[in-house]
């Protein structure tokens, strides 16, 4: 019996594109696979870059990390444009709701003045650090090799722009345009911010995409997000009258956790590839985590006083534990 | 004077937008093509937020234009109230 007159039952000739059949077998491919595997040109490239003639246009050898197949660095979230944008659109709707609620009810006015100042001093300069993270991830995305690794870096970079913009809006809400100017002045000149600014500027001259990924996404953000948003904002400050602000940083809290899982899984695959990779990753981790610990200490100490050292050490232990669990020995 | 133009997907969302453009720009003309509508005018065209709002009976953010926009030509100036397209020469 014909149920749907418009439906013609016809046999497909094939299940997937050839390159996906070679990778995953003769079965229907997911949209993530279609959107991510082998979509970057790899051979018969025409010209060498005039900006760096020693490189190829797509060149895996600009990293010290060596992968037999860079496509192995897949994203466990399976983000391609659609799933990425839809996820972030839902999150932005929630964030928009939180901003509207706090502003319309004047909840931000209930934050005690001293606390408000402390929040401004902490969060507003961080928008510049988030911009640095944007720069680094966009570089990885632009020059890194293989879409499964590079596409999440672009998404990450754009997320960092969003974080910088949310932080700016928090600054505007709590302290107006002047708060942004003050935050920038702190970022530029205040003693406690200089180690972090120096660290960010030092990352901006790194051109090995994988080193940059380790320095920024694994180490700096891996320390910064749990400490600033979980421990300080949601922990100490929310308990002392800043709960409305923690509604406004919900995006950062969630995002920090989500992106950490991705970053650790990428490290896991790259380190498991070879002993040499594991050694280099370990080296980068040590170098950049020492720098990051020293850079974050004065920023956190401003809020947490004597507890800062312990908090930071705990953060580093957590990060190391996550990496160890992923099989990366440091 | 060279034409500026803007084209939208032809659907229910864009009908009032095109209507508003034609009402606000007496020299503008609409040209229907499969699945799209192209509105052009000599030298200059203004899309007013308030005119669209009058037609749809709700608030409208000019950035909503992006959803159904296909293409445009001319220098773009946008603020909260209007989007203008223009050629100087």
């Amino acid at each position: 019996m014909q149920i749907d007159l418009k439906t013609v039952n016809i046999e497909p000739k094939r299940k997937a594109f050839d390159h996906l059949v070679r990778r995953f077998g003769d079965k229907p491919a997911s949209r993530y696979q279609e959107a991510s595997y082998d979509i970057q040109a790899t051979e018969n490239l025409h010209y060498r870059p005039t900006w760096a003639p020693e490189q190829e246009l797509y060149d895996p050898t600009i990293s010290r990390i060596v992968m037999a197949d860079w496509h192995a660095l897949k994203d466990p979230r399976q983000y391609y444009y659609n799933s990425y944008v839809l996820t972030r659109a839902r999150q932005q709707e929630a964030a928009e709701g939180a901003f509207a609620l706090v502003e319309s009810r004047g909840l931000h006015l209930t934050v005690p003045e001293e606390m408000r100042e402390q929040i401004l001093d902490l969060l507003v300069p961080l928008r510049h650090a988030a911009w640095g993270a944007n720069q680094n991830n966009v570089l990885v995305s632009g020059y890194g090799f293989g879409t499964p690794f590079t596409q999440p870096c672009l998404y990450y970079g754009m997320d960092c722009l969003a974080v910088a913009q949310y932080l700016s809006r928090i600054g505007l809400m709590l302290g107006g345009v002047d708060a942004l100017a003050r935050g920038k002045a702190q970022w530029m000149d205040n003693e406690e911010w200089q180690p972090l600014r120096r660290l960010v500027e030092d990352t901006l001259v790194v051109r090995d995409p994988f080193e940059l990924f380790i320095a920024q996404d694994v180490v700096i953000d891996g320390l910064l997000y749990p400490l600033i948003y979980d421990s300080i904002i949601d922990g100490r400050m929310a308990q002392n009258g800043a709960a409305p602000v923690s509604m406004l940083t919900q995006f950062m809290t969630d995002w920090g956790k989500e992106t950490r899982k991705w970053a650790i899984s990428v490290v896991k695959v790259a380190a498991a590839e070879s002993e040499a990779n594991a050694v280099i990753i370990g080296e980068w981790f040590r170098t950049w985590s020492e720098r990051a610990m020293a850079a974050l200490l004065p920023v956190i100490a401003k809020v947490m006083g004597e507890d800062a050292d312990q908090l930071l050490a705990g953060g580093l232990d957590d990060l190391k534990a996550q990496l160890a669990k992923a099989g990366v020995s440091l | 004077m060279s034409n500026v133009f803007i084209a939208f997907q032809a659907n229910e969302d864009t009908r009032p937008i095109v209507e508003a453009i034609l009402a606000d720009n007496p020299e503008a003309q609409a040209e229907d093509q499969p699945a799209m509508v192209r509105v052009f005018a000599p030298g200059h065209m203004t899309i007013n937020r308030s005119s669209i709002e009058d037609l749809i009976g709700r608030d409208f953010d000019l950035q909503e234009l992006h959803i159904n926009l296909i293409t445009l030509s001319g220098h773009v100036e946008e603020d909260e109230e209007r989007l203008t397209l223009s050629w100087d020469a």
Partner: protein
């Protein structure tokens, strides 16, 4: 308690500026030239990056919100298309050649644009410029992916789509767009934005996405028209970015004018040549046509491009070199290329065909001064050969232009009966070109273009060594399945059978 006043609402410009430009800072621990190493070597002088303005001012949250809305619409349509055998709604199976070519040749260009814009989204020194380029990078990966997703269902039922990733790097005609994008990406950031952001996006993409997509709609291909228009809605932003960048360079320093003009000359010609593929798609591959290539060129090339260059004249910019040649060529190039594709269609992952009487009547009407005079006789001759059982195949290899990589099938300006061919001797080697435009581009940067990968000699090199069968395997082409004349192909048989079955059960 401190009496806090509600913060005044900021205007959109001021707010956007605080949320983008204000995020950057003047570095002091590292030299600016080390952070932005590529912004000087091309000779472009920028004195104040803050003078650059993005007219659309999308913050990231607004970007997610509006793009998500576009994405929901798009995937709803292609899901329905896949579930309801939407491929049977197209007017004729031969139409698929157009979108096979699209997937093999154009979608990889979207991906290249994504990479290129990510690079300049990092390399430019101004935050406003960077953010706009980054958003474009994000849009471009969207376009590559939505195109692959839209074609995925066609791949399940028709030939010629399955090996697009192999074809991209290996088959001969995809080298046309890939050399274009490789050329742009191997230039510095300012040349890249001029090439892709301005010459391609502003002057030329309308030709690809507007009339061709409208044609796809007219031919019942809802999957393609949906990605086409959905992509083009992003292009409106991209075009504006391209135009802003050109104005910005020209306003920053008068010394920039000759450099920018040189790039406009080059990239207009490069783009025009590449879009010849789209000309053939529009004039020959759409069973039902909306407008001819010549008409589209008139609206989007001559009128719109003309308006633009008139406007830019105040900066001293003139229309690109080759503008008149290109306008004259719009009468010819689609025919010349399609004749070429037909004679070499044993080596293409798509089908070609001899236009029907009805097709030719339409072409005569649209090209009253040229088609009957120059091209109908050639098609008639080819048809006679096919009818006699000796279809015309040019088993000699096409001479490809060293710059644009198209087969040199074009004719002399002002003389459509004389084949145009140019040669240059450089460092003991002879290089071949399809036109003065392509030759001049070589002469500007010979050290770059001697590197061109030429796909034809590859047939004789490793790993194929002159074995056509091996070459076909290497490029992912299944002989007798993906290539040759549409008439008598598997695609034709399947499409006709399924259509019949559909109308029988309906």
């Amino acid at each position: 308690m401190d009496m806090q006043v509600k913060q005044p609402k900021l205007g959109i410009k001021e707010r956007y500026s605080l949320l983008t430009r204000d995020l950057g800072w003047e570095p002091s621990y590292q030299a600016k030239e080390k952070i932005f190493p590529y912004t000087h070597y091309e000779g472009i002088k920028i004195h104040d990056w803050d003078k650059w303005e993005d007219p659309f001012r999308l913050t990231m949250d607004a970007y997610w919100k509006y793009q998500a809305e576009k994405e929901r619409k798009f995937y709803a349509i292609i899901d329905a298309h896949a579930q309801n055998n939407g491929h049977l709604n197209i007017t004729d199976g031969r139409y698929l050649t157009a979108i096979k070519l699209f997937l093999q040749a154009i979608s990889p260009g979207e991906y290249a644009a994504h990479k290129g814009f990510a690079r300049i989204g990092r390399e430019f020194e101004g935050v406003g410029t960077q953010v706009a380029c980054q958003m474009q990078s994000l849009d471009e990966i969207r376009h590559a992916q939505t195109q692959i997703h839209a074609m995925s269902n066609y791949n399940k039922f028709y030939n010629g789509f399955h090996s697009f990733a192999d074809a991209r790097d290996r088959i001969w005609y995809t080298s046309v767009p890939r050399s274009f994008f490789d050329d742009a990406m191997s230039g510095g950031p300012f040349e890249f934005i001029t090439a892709i952001g301005f010459a391609f996006e502003y002057v030329l993409t309308n030709l690809l996405f507007v009339p061709f997509m409208s044609g796809a709609a007219y031919n019942g291909d809802m999957a393609t028209v949906t990605f086409g228009f959905s992509a083009q809605s992003d292009e409106a932003r991209h075009m504006t970015l391209g135009l802003e960048c050109i104005k910005f360079m020209l306003e920053q320093d008068p010394d920039n004018l000759p450099i920018v003009q040189k790039w406009l000359d080059k990239w207009f010609w490069r783009g025009m040549r590449m879009l010849t593929l789209v000309g053939a798609m529009m004039d020959y591959m759409l069973p039902k046509r909306v407008m001819s290539w010549k008409e589209a060129w008139q609206v989007y090339g001559v009128e719109n491009g003309g308006a633009l260059f008139n406007d830019l004249a105040r900066y001293g910019v003139r229309v690109p070199k080759g503008w008149d040649v290109a306008n004259e060529a719009a009468e010819h190039v689609s025919h010349q290329l399609m004749l070429g594709l037909y004679q070499w269609c044993f080596g293409t992952s798509f089908h070609a065909w001899i236009p029907s009487e009805e097709d030719m009547a339409w072409l005569s009407e649209k090209y009253p001064d040229t088609f009957d005079r120059y091209y109908r006789p050639r098609w008639d001759h080819i048809r006679k050969m096919a009818e006699a059982g000796t279809p015309y195949q040019n088993l000699g290899l096409a001479q490809l232009c060293n710059t644009c990589q198209l087969p040199a099938v074009f004719t002399e300006p002002g003389d459509p009966t004389t084949h145009c061919h140019r040669e240059v001797e450089f460092e003991g080697e002879t290089y071949h070109f399809c036109s003065d435009g392509c030759r001049d581009i070589f002469l500007e940067e010979p050290q770059k273009y001697v590197q061109s990968w030429l796909p034809m000699p590859q047939l004789f090199a490793e790993p194929n060594f002159g074995d056509v069968g091996k070459w076909m395997e290497w490029v992912g082409l299944k002989p007798g399945v993906d290539n040759g004349d549409y008439h008598g192909s598997q695609d034709e048989a399947s499409f006709e059978a399924w259509k019949k079955h559909q109308s029988a059960t309906a």
